[in-house]
Symmetry: C2
Subunit: 448 residues, 2 copies
């Protein structure tokens, strides 16, 4: 991907690549602590065979162990620790000034046989920063609250952002009662209670967090795509979390017929019609990319029906469509493109599309002032970063939606996420921690 | 399908639609005989439940019964009957003149749970014509040899045109030994011997038929597509049997990746690449259709791999491609289009196509003089016919390849073939028989 000039935060000036220093006397993040904790997490929550990944089930044993490790370390630094009704963990280091706190956090659960870095990197980056201040005998500008969030991976409970929504009192009774955990079928509310939480409080809508008391929420997270690796940049600053619209179970209705004996005009070819739809949506994506708009279009599953055969025109295809953008306008535009393409192809190919239910989510914009501030820190530290959208969902979307100035820092990572091959280099993690540390040292700026 | 003016053999003049008469004194085909025999075939070779089709397995009981029915009727008319080493049946009525014979024939086997008309209609049309001459006490111009061909449906033995190739001594030892019947696994040679044939003779390449002694081979057959139904024409005159090239087990190699986190330029999307290939081949078809060339392009099976998921870019698709044309030049052109599209899409989408083995067949042209002669008869009888290509393979392809002037007459038929819903009207069958009868009455014309 060739970034446009405006995407590059800091083209490092010639010969200055090595001068990555914090302002005089500012604490350095405690990277050795993070290295030690990553190893402990891998050892204690791994599936037992090296290279086969880790299991930190939401509200399960692995997640619990991870929370205990983090709590132990925060306790050693004398941080004030709290647990809310959903078992989210808050660890606070007092700041030099009064005023809304700076929060740093991410989740500690994982997908089954997942990687060690997805989620945990954000929490350990916060601990490394706190430990840096602790070891330097210095306080951050504002109260620094680390948050270890519960149940972010919707593989377990088919609901998004369970922990962060619970922190704002936004879980519903319906979800607590009827969303069941994959694997063991335990309802969310019961799983929360079993982990030491209080589902009744959540049912009442009790919030632990007050948006007005949070100056900023910062979430470091490994990049789940290949952009930073491809561009050889250690970190990225996320401009927004993409929203989406999806048709998970769409299908195209045509007619099976003899491939040799059925002329073009008599065909109702579902395979051809679906191919035309895939290409039409991709062409629209190309046009929007040329216009500089953010978008990703994916037909992840496409298959002709059970009755398909080599010498038959396909009478049916089933397919899924996933359209993502950080820009609501782009999503609306693509919804229109989809409807137009469907109508045109139905007429041309004499088929019928059944798109089924639309699901999806709203895009979440990261805070532009916060982003600018982080950009300045990145530049001062001569880190080679880029601005980029985030394609997957993260707890940051909840904070942004609640009106908290929110930002994400992506850390370069090979091989995607949600698999044991996740590969984050500790040097890249350290760059993200340094940016965080710089921010905590300076404190949030006056809002314009 | 809108036929071009040249495709229409006989635009029936206003007010003359009913004047379908043979020349004075010419015999009328014995349609009641055909009706009776269709009923007997259905009753004796049906699967036993009305509407569930018939089973006339190649070299199996159903085919044997059909041959016995036909042999019995030919014997009643005093036709000279012979059986060759492959159990093909020849029934000859002496002609008025000497010279090469006129042959009329088709096959009597069927696919499993097939229809009653595919194949049988051609043999019964010949019997109806012979019976017409017999009842009129008149002889055809030339010797008329009806041929009931064995084992045309390659569902049973995975080899094409077993019976007709055997009649010309073209079955190989390898086929006789190693082609096994679907269902019971009996080798072709053993099945032929079991039906009363002589595989050893076939192994020696002994031919029963001599192309130089056949003036014309005519095969009436139900249309397996919807063209004649759509155009409300009772019969069609086939211009050629399409050849083909095929990739039965092609696949596209991409990379699985996160649908939200992987930008366009990093994608290796097999679903998109395959869709682009389907559309490219269809666009080429459109252009050739506009140029008046014969073609049919079908991707009958397309499916993303087992690891496909809704939120993953597809790392693999498997697909089949079937390209048919009666024009060798068009097949070659499309082979070129395929190679070009593959190369362009591989470059654009960063994928790799693996097309696998190419199989296929050569197109067989029907004889243009014979076609012109049949066209004149059709016109004289005020039958509303059209010229059309034939998309499926038929024994006529073998006769054409052996240098015999060959033609096929398509009979209107609803619901395609190879299924119990085949629906040929007896009035349309009668039109085809009248054309045949007219041809037998006139005899083949001098070759130009």
């Amino acid at each position: 991907m060739t970034p446009s000039a405006q995407d590059i935060v800091t083209p490092v000036p010639e010969g200055q690549g090595a001068t990555s220093l914090l302002p005089n006397g500012a604490p350095q993040p405690d990277i050795p602590l993070a290295v030690k904790l990553f190893a402990e997490l891998e050892q204690r929550t791994g599936v037992g065979r090296p290279g086969h990944g880790i299991n930190r089930t939401s509200y399960g044993l692995g997640e619990q162990i991870a929370h205990e490790i983090v709590l132990r370390e925060a306790g050693r630094m004398g941080m004030v620790c709290e647990v809310d009704a959903a078992c989210n963990l808050y660890m606070t280091m007092k700041g030099r000034e009064n005023g809304p706190a700076v929060m740093v956090g991410s989740h500690l659960d994982s997908v089954p046989a997942g990687g060690n870095f997805d989620g945990a990197a954000g929490v350990l980056a916060g601990l490394a920063v706190a430990s840096g201040f602790f070891k330097a005998g210095r306080r951050p500008a504002r109260d620094l609250t680390l948050m270890a969030i519960r149940a972010e991976e919707s593989t377990w409970f088919g609901a998004s952002y369970v922990g962060s929504r619970a922190a704002f009192g936004k879980l519903t009774s319906d979800e607590l009662d009827h969303v069941l955990r994959a694997g063991d079928g335990i309802p969310l509310g019961k799983a929360i209670d079993a982990a030491g939480g209080d589902a009744e409080k959540l049912r009442a809508g009790t919030a632990h967090l007050d948006p007005s008391r949070i100056a900023a929420f910062l979430e470091p997270h490994i990049e789940q795509g290949p952009v930073l690796v491809g561009e050889e940049r250690p970190i990225g600053l996320v401009t927004g979390i993409r929203g989406s619209f999806r048709h998970r179970h769409a299908w195209c209705e045509g007619s099976y017929a003899h491939s040799g004996a059925t002329p073009r005009a008599y065909r109702r070819d579902a395979a051809l019609a679906t191919a035309r739809l895939v290409v039409a949506m991709d062409d629209a994506w190309k046009r929007l990319t040329a216009a500089g708009r953010d978008l990703a279009v994916t037909f992840g599953q496409v298959a002709t029906g059970r009755d398909a055969a080599f010498s038959k025109i396909a009478g049916r295809t089933d397919f899924s469509l996933d359209v993502r953008s950080e820009d609501l306008e782009v999503l609306d535009f693509m919804r229109g493109e989809l409807a137009e393409a469907v109508a045109a192809i139905e007429a041309e190919c004499n088929v019928r599309f059944h798109l089924g239910a639309e699901t999806g989510s709203q895009p979440a914009r990261m805070d532009s002032d916060l982003l600018a501030h982080l950009g300045r820190i990145v530049q001062a530290q001569s880190i080679d970063a880029r601005k980029m959208p985030c394609g997957a969902g993260h707890d940051s979307a909840v904070f942004a939606k609640m009106g908290v100035p929110t930002a994400m820092i992506f850390i370069r990572n090979r091989n995607g996420s949600h698999n044991p091959q996740e590969a984050m280099e500790i040097d890249d993690f350290a760059e993200a921690a340094r940016v965080l540390s710089g921010f905590c040292e300076e404190g949030p700026q006056e809002r314009r």
